[in-house]
């Protein structure tokens, strides 16, 4: 049996983090949670997850700064990151960051069902869709 893929969930809102964690567990992933950008970078670099779900608006360190730091690492330069946020990608600086730090996808939470987020994860990791 294949080992479940590790997904690092970086999300500061407890309710949303719990929902994602529960859902991913049920979908046979192995999720770990970080509650802000700083924790997210620590866990990413220490645990080397297969994919990172990254929120943007967070206390202590925001998502883009965390992504920048992760990308500076040799391993982190290539880890697939799906940005999962409620911020619209309209700000110019944000768009520039997206182009620079290359997340695999940018999803607006309120527009995406959990099951469709999982589809995107499977796509990104090139896993067969359940």
């Amino acid at each position: 049996m294949e080992t479940p893929k590790t997904i690092l969930v970086v999300e500061d809102e407890k309710a949303l983090c719990d929902a994602i964690m529960d859902f991913l567990t049920r979908e046979n992933f192995s999720p770990i949670a970080a509650r802000n950008g700083r924790e997210g970078v620590e866990l990413a670099l220490s645990r080397h997850p297969d994919l990172i779900l990254l929120d943007l608006v967070m206390p202590e360190m925001d998502g883009m700064t965390a992504l920048k730091k992760i990308r500076e690492d040799a391993w982190g330069a290539n880890v697939p990151v799906i940005i999962l946020t409620n911020l619209s990608p309209t700000d110019e600086k944000l768009v520039e960051s997206i182009i620079t730090f290359k997340p695999a996808h940018y999803l607006v939470k309120s527009d995406w069902k959990l099951r469709d987020v999982v589809k995107k994860i499977n796509e990104t990791l090139k896993l067969p869709s359940s």
Binding site: E13, A15, L16, A19, I20, D22, F23, R26, V57, N86, L87, S88, T90, D91, V108, K109, S110, D111, K113, L114, R115
Partner: protein, 498 residues
């Protein structure tokens, strides 16, 4: 004899004052000149009553000449006789005098006319001077007003050489009028775009105004940074207008305003809106995901009634999410009209992308789409961030208000090379005639669709119209209830071919 002549004897009073005289001899001319007859042997006070009062100088001079023997000459206007006379008096014998009279009324008239005319001319001159002062004052006032207006103003001649720069422009740009007037605009003023790239000469608004325009269009809504000599810069909104005389462009006027403050306010508003929508979306996401998981059966079996109710919860949640998204777009448009950032966009690619986004809905409602995209359509100058919303909104309306199995036509064609014409038509619900005039207003939804479809926000067409119009285009429609609607969008082409 040409002159009048009179020989008289002077009469003095007790004090030796000349009070009268007797005419001893007069000639015919004298009678003619004075109009007096039969005066010989008479006293002048009898012949010309009141002469002593009216012309006392006559008796004085005669008396003096008659006593001293020194001849005199004088001019006088004899009131009683209404005649101007030049009188030469001499005394052949003491106590007697002889006077020669010359009628000088003509000379006198000439003199007076001349004097009058001189006076008239002096007055005229004075008036002219006053008027000249008034005109100059008005001119100075106007110039002062123009130069003092709160916005920066500068004008150039047809070659782009600066002819006028006002105080505000001097202050904003850190330049002095005497240093720049006469110099070429591009030598003296540098502008940058948002990406810190210096705007090349042929793209500068002044250049655009001076060339290639035959009508009185002004080019407004430019937004650039002016660079000062000391390398500091400030954002400015500028309007450039050509000055046209007899159909020829003889110069251009550029008016600009420092918008640093406005930009800051705009930025603050944009950030607020962004933050507000983020905050609204977070609890909406929680509702959505947890409801999804319950409906999925992830935490226990859900029976039919529960499913039904939960779906209503989910549905309500979706509507709110949609509303937040739409309000975010509306405020982006309303804040964004302040700065129009346009670039050439491939309108066909956008159309195809918007159709792709709606794939699921199209299939779900069993709709047949036909497209007709003319490959030769020129590029469109638009904001690539907001323009897709035009297609999104009109297309989603066509889909939502179609009957199942209906047909939607989407075409993009070249309209005489100057415009791009886009048509999206459906054969669905249509818009009732009596409500058609309200279709583009905010939050309006027609009665016939509110019943059938409660989900819309009423903002989609308002958004589409705002974006189309800020791209310089026009949007209109034709519609008949239960037959369908066709929406038309006409947009000016960029002029550059792909």
């Amino acid at each position: 004899m040409l002159d009048g002549f009179a020989y008289c004897q002077m009469i003095f009073d007790a004090q030796g004052r000349p009070v009268d005289f007797i005419y001893l001899l007069v000639n015919k001319k004298f009678n003619e000149l004075t109009g007096l007859k039969g005066v010989v042997g008479k006293k002048v006070t009898e012949v010309i009553p009141g002469i002593g009062k009216d012309n006392p100088e006559i008796l004085e001079v005669y008396g003096r000449v008659a006593s001293t023997g020194v001849p005199e000459k004088f001019e006088t206007y004899v009131k009683r006789l209404d005649v101007w006379l030049l009188i030469s008096v001499y005394s052949p014998k003491k106590g007697f005098f002889a006077a020669l009279f010359e009628d000088i009324h003509i000379q006198k008239k000439v003199e007076m006319d001349l004097a009058n005319e001189t006076l008239a001319i002096r007055n005229l001159l004075s008036d002219i001077k006053i008027q000249k002062n008034e005109v100059e004052t008005a001119k100075v006032k106007e110039e002062t007003a123009l130069l003092a207006i709160g916005d920066g103003l500068l004008s150039t001649d047809e070659n782009g050489k600066i002819t006028l720069i006002n105080k505000t422009a001097e202050n904003l740009l850190n330049l002095r009028s005497e240093d720049v007037v006469g110099k070429s605009y591009s030598e003296v003023i540098t502008i940058e775009n948002e990406k810190n790239v210096i705007v090349p000469l042929d793209k500068r608004p002044i250049k655009l105004a001076l060339t290639g325009i035959t009508t009185n269009t002004n080019h407004s809504g430019f937004f650039y940074y002016y660079l000062r000599k000391d390398k500091t810069k400030f954002p400015a909104a500028m309007t450039v207008t050509p000055i046209i005389l007899n159909n020829k462009v003889i110069g251009a006027i550029e008016i600009f305003r420092d918008i640093t403050k406005e930009k800051e306010i705009n930025k603050a508003k944009t950030e607020f809106v962004s933050l507000a929508s983020h905050q609204l979306r977070t609890p909406l996401t929680a509702i959505s995901w947890y409801t999804e998981m319950i409906l999925n059966g992830d935490v226990g079996k859900v029976h039919a009634q529960q499913k039904k109710y939960l779906e209503e919860v989910y549905h309500g949640n979706r509507r709110m999410v949609e509303l937040v998204n739409t309000l975010l777009n509306v405020s982006r448009i309303e804040l964004g009209t302040f700065v129009i950032k346009q670039e050439p966009v491939d309108v066909i690619a956008m159309a195809e992308s918007s159709l792709d986004e709606q794939k699921f809905n199209i299939q779900h409602r069993n709709l047949k789409i036909t497209t007709n995209f003319d490959k030769n359509v020129p590029q469109l100058l638009a904001d690539p961030k907001t323009f897709p919303l035009v297609f999104q909104n009109i297309l989603s309306n066509a889909i939502d208000y179609s009957y199942s199995g209906g047909k939607i036509d989407f075409s993009i064609e070249n309209d005489k090379g100057k415009n791009i014409l886009i048509k999206i038509s459906d054969n669905g619900l249509g818009i009732p005639k009596n409500q058609q005039h309200q279709i583009f207003t905010k939050l309006f939804r027609a009665d016939n669709i509110i019943d059938k479809n409660t989900d819309g926000t009423g903002l989609g067409l308002y958004i589409a119209k705002s974006i189309v119009e800020s791209s310089g285009g026009k949007i209109w429609f034709e519609s008949e209830e239960n037959k369908g609607s066709t929406f038309f969008i006409s947009l000016p082409a960029d002029g550059q071919k792909k």
